[in-house]
Amino acid sequence: MSNPAPALETLSYAFPGTKPAGPFAPVLAGVVGSGNLEVLLEASAEPVCRFDVQTSARGFGSIWEAVLGDFQRRHDLAGVRVSIHDMGATPAVVGLRLSQAVAQLRTP
């Protein structure tokens, strides 16, 4: 193709965790707009926190790893699957959406 469309980048990480989230209804935070992202949290059977990221901003793998790793160091989640659709959010916005999502987990 002479004019290939920019492709999406997909990234996956799994970090071990020791605080099982237990069963919970899926939780959504954020919106897929420019400079923003949506974060979906679902219960899983694995002893890890898994992250699946789909992003239009290519080449930031090491930053994602750092931001998500940081998040997991703080929350130490297990049995959680985090799915992300990203349109170029900054690390601060990524952190914010993750926090908003986790906060919904904690609400009875």
């Binding site: 193709m1 002479s2 004019n3 469309a5």
Partner: protein, 233 residues
Amino acid sequence: MNWSELATALFGADHDIRADGSLLHGTATLARQSIAVVGTTDHASIGYALALRQAEVVLATMAHHPGRAVLLLIDTQGQQLRRHDELLGINRAMAHLGCCIDLARRRGHRVIGLVYDQALSGGFITSGLIADGCYALPQAEIRVMRLPAMARVTKLPEALLAELSQANPVFAPGVDNYVAMGGVRSLWRGDLAAALRQALADTPTDDTRAVDGAQRGGRRLAADVAQAVMDAA
């Protein structure tokens, strides 16, 4: 094929269709059945006024000829892109045309749409696409927006959109894509009068386009998603 050649191919001499500016209207006879004909020519830009003129024909048909079939002949470059039309409420005029056609259907008028040259979204969505069914001549083209404007709005490179318009069914303007997606029921080739007779007899009155699109492979998800809403707990 221009509208006059089309009219002759469909009806021979059995019609009084004429052009008033870019509005087409008249009555035709096919297999001893009277058919009201309304539409546009000259790649008409459909503004507030032209939408109303078409609606008037449909209203008159409902009022004076209950049950008479209606044939919509479509050749348009889309909605008129003028501040004046927006100010007046072109969306309301278009909706009015669409509601008139929709009411005619509900009152038992068969409504058939035929794209005989080109159609662009705004000029098409409340005419051909709200008929019982829409058909097209094989050389016709249906577009959502001209590429330069599309590039500007989507911020996708025009060259990329042009490339996609070559072969990608979602973007390519050829009517065979619309057939594959279920938006157009079929293309009329050869004996056009026979095709119209068939359409008047066969076109379903409920909206089968998503199911057609799934069966033909051009639009795989729409029918299932709509059904999933029906079935959701």
